[in-house]
Symmetry: C2
Subunit: 341 residues, 2 copies
Amino acid sequence: MKSTITDVASRAGVSIKTVSRVLNDEPNVTEKTRKKVRDAVKALKYRPNFSARSLAGSRSYLLAMVYDNPSVEYITHMQKGATAACREHGYHLVVEPVDWDTGDLTGDIEMLLGRLPVDGVILTPPICDSRRIVSALEKARIPMVRICPRNPLMTSAPSINMDDAAAAYDMTRYLIDAGHTDIGFIRGASSHESSHLREQGFRKALKDADLELDPARIVDGDYTFEAGLAGAELLLSGYTRPTAIFAGNDDMAAGAISRAGALGLSVPEDLSVCGFDNTALASMIFPPLTTVSQPITDAGRRAAHLLIDRASKSGTAELPQDIAVEYEIVIRGSTGTVNRG
Amino acid sequence: MKSTITDVASRAGVSIKTVSRVLNDEPNVTEKTRKKVRDAVKALKYRPNFSARSLAGSRSYLLAMVYDNPSVEYITHMQKGATAACREHGYHLVVEPVDWDTGDLTGDIEMLLGRLPVDGVILTPPICDSRRIVSALEKARIPMVRICPRNPLMTSAPSINMDDAAAAYDMTRYLIDAGHTDIGFIRGASSHESSHLREQGFRKALKDADLELDPARIVDGDYTFEAGLAGAELLLSGYTRPTAIFAGNDDMAAGAISRAGALGLSVPEDLSVCGFDNTALASMIFPPLTTVSQPITDAGRRAAHLLIDRASKSGTAELPQDIAVEYEIVIRGSTGTVNRG
DNA sequence: GTGAAAGCGCTAACAT
DNA sequence: ATGTTAGCGCTTTCAC
């Protein structure tokens, strides 16, 4: 039933090495022979065996994606992009969830992946900032791409970046332009460097606009809906209250809106609220959320491509440098011009 | 750096076959030798090579999960359960998204998986109901587990089931007990058999309670938030309106609540709304959603276990039968007793 | 431009 | 209870 490279070779009347050359697009085969081989492959419905390939050669046609559970959207989209790229090149994607918060990184990558031969690993936030994982990978000489890393970690591994600080800056600027001068901010989880960058962008925009920032206007959160609820409670229960709340992500923004409603405030009339990430939730709540859209799927695709390219040109000095993907401010119904009663 | 089975064998002073036996928990090794081998493994930090194993033997220690994109929650949780089970047994999970709606099943599984040697495939809805995929898998003699299949498809493959009809029945019953006699229903995507089952359960509960069902009270949907919006519009804009809406899933329920709000109706005072699936969204909207919780993570874990077990007892005649997992009605703030103004 | 031979690191079948 | 010998299906030298 299953044909092997030998079957193809004998049907095409060539040696298995020639078949191998054709399969791997290697030079030194005449177009005529190439065609003979391809015809035989088609006739026999031949497909190379992954295990044999990776055992004999240096490629496994497998990529791994290591992730925590930041948001289901994030993972799913990243995964979608990565698998799309994989499929184009006959690759497959292995998923490896780890628990970052509890420090359970399942030993090392060595432990995680065992001896599964992968041609590269995609590290998503916040895992990409784990010194342990990154150095374990380097030691094992497994190529990696870090998506949105926040710490340099002294690695030469390429990364896919989105400028969280600039996006937060722009979003804050948008609120200021809409007349808001008193804006609250709900922080994300401090273990995610994105939280700090978003806060930085927020602070800088206020500063650049010569606006005072009352320290009490920045409250802690952890990227969960509940944190949004609590953060808004804190922000809105004081003697004076901000006219806008910038939540570190969409889930928290949803929480803020929910709490605002419970306190009898209308959004966006009494309070503008914006989030970050443009998850599906953003357009599912009422009013729909003004937020920052990040091309996550694209990031996943690019990361996979980088790794596959690298594996293909194995010998060649590799050139993958850092790649930047663009964000976008998406304005919806949850924000409006300031309306001081 | 990387040690092989030969290194372990010589360090332990035994043959490679003995090492292999210990590694695979095969009989006929004295406890003493077993220990020697294990010590050598530990000292050398030895881990078997996946490719070599699967090339030589009959197991690949790889499982595949084929899925469409029904809801990001669904996939992520299923994946989480499956990877957890995999890790317990030194397995890894390969993900294979396909596009069911456009009929793009990327040829066959043969095409999809190429020659990637997997020990089993987890089929999630609605993919598990694809005759093409299921028969391709059977032809290739690749074991599979179908999660929540709706069509028998004449396969002997085991499945993990949740009783959607019974759950919908119970939910409807709960609404009836709360005094609702006029209940609207928003259907899910007709390509998902779950839609039909949920509708069946709904209808049966009304019938068993001797309640009339106006055909106009059942409207089409496709499991999206927008469908919930539109469905509620239809249901609530007539001369008389239902006192409750049962949406086929949470996203649509969220849409229904959103539209109700826009029409000036309070939930649950003027209208009770309930969903299905208990996604994260359910507790993120206001009011939080009464819905049906399904143990998706558990389903993924069980599916993986089934496949791994099967691969372990390869020779033995094994009969993994179908497994049922339990649902639960989760009552939150979006439903209440009927309140006829 | 093409091919022969030698493994890659394991498991399987058959000794012993 | 343990060891020996063949491969699994490819990619890699290195000849030709």
